[in-house]
């Protein structure tokens, strides 16, 4: 059972305190992620917990015992650390390195016991490095070596596993594999884990709780939803980011946004009629080119709708999966009136959004320029039993311009 308590801790090197007034508790069985920008003190936190920094104030209690009063071997029996990099000077075999994890349990005049070999074997099995056992560590790849080092930490039988960006140098496959393994240890063997992460997506995906460190202080601590907010990300990392939910498992992921100063004095207003994802590329291109863009009518939760919201586009929106109502139609026509050009994509047309084609026809009648980007013909998109095709023909009669790519549109409206 490990319960880590940090009280009013200041820690650092020499006279400089990197960490200031740290107070936190890690409960038995927690999987806590530590995040924060470079140099904020994440690694120092790991070092301070194991009593490795040379300047420290305040209290760190492992299971109620102060780390400062514990011998190195006692600390090593409770907490194991996997650093980001390990350089091993002499060509030991992987197995020899794993066995070193048993050092805390071996007295000065003792040699390794049966139990030590068993624990080391188990660690090899958990990390799946059976094939690497007899290899010399200088012949291993970075990823293989890191797995050996993780195995060494597991052989240590820790109650608290501290990872200092332990998976930073692993490729995505090995990263996921290593984190899955660590999560399994956490769940099945109740090993408490504190892991430092640079990768916020990995942190959000694997950790039960996150602590955000900023400039040596804890900014916030809580569940990923509470910690990974656009506001925190802006304040600590200085980025604009969207936080999304992974549709697979509901974990969070971060999309940093390139929000160059958007020129709010638009060149021209463009209204886009799209839906079902047919307008994604167009919307982004128009915003990037500096046009004032509106769109409609879109159903909430439509792919194009999400993109439009993401791009801060003025949208006429209807409730999810509902036919477009009279009111929205009126709003849409107003937007069309304000626009210089109306662009239509080749969205599928059903009874619910047929009214969008009527709106386009109306635009033509108002004398607006209407451009249709069409890759799929109306025959395949018409789910109204011919009504849409009828409207399409009328649009052609009224002078709609048909093109096949976004690029062409850009050329025309410039």
């Amino acid at each position: 059972m490990v319960n880590l308590e940090i009280k009013k801790m200041y820690a650092g090197y020499g006279r400089k305190h990197v960490l200031k007034n740290i107070n936190m508790n890690v409960e038995h069985g927690d999987l806590l992620g530590v995040i924060g920008p470079n140099g904020c003190g994440k690694s120092t936190l790991i070092r301070a917990i194991t009593g490795v920094v040379n300047s420290i104030r305040g209290d760190i209690l492992l299971d109620g015992r102060s780390v400062r009063e514990m011998g190195r071997k006692d600390i090593a029996k409770k907490a194991a650390v996997v650093p980001q990099n390990t350089f091993i000077g002499f060509p030991f075999t992987a197995w020899e390195v794993v066995l070193m994890g048993r050092n805390p349990y071996t007295g000065r005049f003792e040699s390794l016991k049966e139990e030590d070999y068993e624990r080391a074997h188990r660690a090899v099995k958990i990390t799946g490095i059976e094939k690497l056992k007899e290899r010399r560590v200088n012949t291993l790849s970075g990823g293989e070596l890191q797995r050996v080092v993780i195995a060494r930490a597991i052989a240590q039988d820790p109650k608290l596993l501290l990872l200092d960006e332990a998976t930073a140098h692993l490729d995505i496959g090995h990263k996921i594999e290593a984190m899955d393994m660590i999560k399994k240890m956490n769940r099945e063997e109740e090993v408490t884990v504190v892991s430092v992460h640079h990768n916020l997506d990995i942190a959000a995906r694997y950790c039960d709780r996150l602590v955000l460190v900023d400039n040596g202080r804890i900014r916030t601590i809580g569940e990923p939803e509470e910690v990974l907010t656009p506001g925190h990300l802006r304040a600590v990392y200085g980025i604009e980011a969207e936080v999304h939910e992974n549709p697979w498992d509901g974990t969070l992921y971060i999309s940093p946004i390139d929000r160059k100063e958007i020129d709010r004095t638009y060149k021209k207003m463009i209204h886009v009629i799209c839906g079902g994802g047919t307008g994604r590329k167009l919307l982004k291109t128009l915003v990037d080119k500096g046009y004032g863009v509106s769109a409609g009518v879109l159903n909430a939760m439509d792919t194009d709708m999400e993109r439009a919201e993401f791009l801060d586009i003025d949208v006429v929106a209807e409730a999810p999966f509902s036919p477009i109502g009279k009111e929205r139609e009126r709003d849409n026509l107003r937007k069309i009136e304000e626009a210089e050009t109306v662009i239509l994509t080749d969205f599928p047309v059903g009874p619910g959004n047929l009214i969008n084609l009527t709106a386009a026809l109306e635009a033509l009648r108002m004398g607006k320029r209407v451009i249709l980007i069409e890759k799929k013909g109306i025959e395949v998109r018409d789910h109204t039993g011919g009504e849409a095709t009828g409207l399409y023909k009328k649009m052609v009669e009224n002078g709609v311009v048909v093109v096949t790519s976004v690029k062409e549109v850009v050329g025309m409206i410039a």
Partner: protein
């Protein structure tokens, strides 16, 4: 599998010890040019001289008994002990510095001893005082480097290395200055001392050196697991429960003591402490539990062989022989093992 592993390293050790024994015996047969004693007589003289055995055998007499018992044997056995000491010292230093280029003399032990010897010769102190002065100077130099290498209460390996380099040069310059000031005959004896020799070893020297070396080796061996863990880096070693500072201090002390006590009696013998750990690592791998005993015995064998060559060649200084014969052998090992052990 781990059993056979252990068995194999024990076998290696026994085999090496046997080779050492044979080497010692063979060396006792070899004398200065012109002195020729038969195999049977040499063996008889040695065996009858063993405590407890002597009374059961007819006693030997004559100058050859004195040559074997009072000249060759103490010299050969001091060679064994010196080889063991320098080799274990080098192994320990390479482990502490995590660097295969480290040698027993990295803290300035040899330069310090040489300075002490030069002072003794210059002042005309007796031949029994010289080792004491050399030893004191060697340990003093080592302590100075150690003190300089510590920052913020931590032994920083890089700083230690640089401090060792600087102090080495300082002591060498001081020694050279003394040589420069000395009259020719003293100059010669200082220079000869610096090349190392087992010539004229008496039992008393062997009995002084032996207990110190035994103690030093035991200390290093007891810390062999810590030496292994230190190879993962100081921080990782701390995480694995090693009191890194304490361990380093003890090991640096023991390794320096081993080198200093030998060098102050024999003069500077290079190469052994640098190369034997390497050569042994090719055979045993880097695990200090196996490496230290094997390196000790191989160091002993190598030193006796070199001293035998020295004796047979009319006392070419041993410091010259070790490099002259050891270097080509080591290059051969390197070429053979290319890529297998990583060094």
């Amino acid at each position: 599998m781990k059993r056979s592993f252990r068995k194999r390293s024990v076998t290696t050790f026994v085999l090496l010890s046997l080779i050492l024994f044979v080497t010692v015996m063979a060396s006792a047969l070899v004398g200065s040019p012109g002195v020729d004693i038969s195999f049977a007589r040499v063996m008889g003289i040695i065996i009858s001289g063993l405590p407890g055995v002597g009374k059961m055998l007819p006693d030997y007499s004559g100058t050859d008994v004195i040559i074997i018992r009072q000249i060759r044997l103490p010299r050969i056995l001091l060679g064994v002990v010196a080889g063991i000491a320098l080799s274990v010292s080098g192994t320990s230093m390479q482990g502490i510095f995590k660097n295969p280029m480290a040698s027993p003399f990295i803290l300035g032990i040899s330069a310090g001893a040489a300075f002490g010897a030069a002072v003794s010769v210059t002042l005309g102190l007796g031949m029994y005082v010289l080792p004491a002065v050399a030893f004191a100077s060697a340990m003093g130099t080592g302590l100075m480097v150690f003190g300089l290498g510590r920052i913020h209460g931590k032994t920083d390996v890089a700083t230690l290395l640089l401090a060792g380099l600087a102090v080495n040069f300082l002591m060498q310059s001081l020694t050279a200055y003394l040589i420069y000031l000395s009259p020719p005959e003293k100059r010669t004896s200082i220079i000869f001392w610096m090349w190392g020799s087992f010539n004229g070893t008496v039992w008393k020297e062997f009995w002084i050196v032996l207990p110190v070396v035994v103690a030093g080796i035991l200390i290093v061996y007891v810390f062999s697991r810590e030496l292994n863990v230190l190879q993962l880096g100081d921080e990782s070693a701390l995480y694995l429960g090693v009191e890194v500072e304490k361990t380093k201090m003890i090991l640096l002390g023991a390794a320096s003591l081993l080198a200093a006590v030998v060098v102050s009696f024999t003069g500077i013998i290079g190469f052994v402490g640098l190369i034997i750990p390497h050569a042994t690592r090719i055979i045993t791998g880097p695990d200090h539990k196996k490496l230290i005993p094997a390196a000790a015995v191989i160091g002993g064998i190598f030193m006796v062989l070199c001293d035998t060559i020295s004796r047979a060649s009319g006392e070419i200084p041993i410091g010259i022989i070790t490099g002259l014969f050891g270097a080509p052998f080591f290059i051969y090992l390197l070429l053979r093992s290319k890529g297998e052990t990583g060094w």
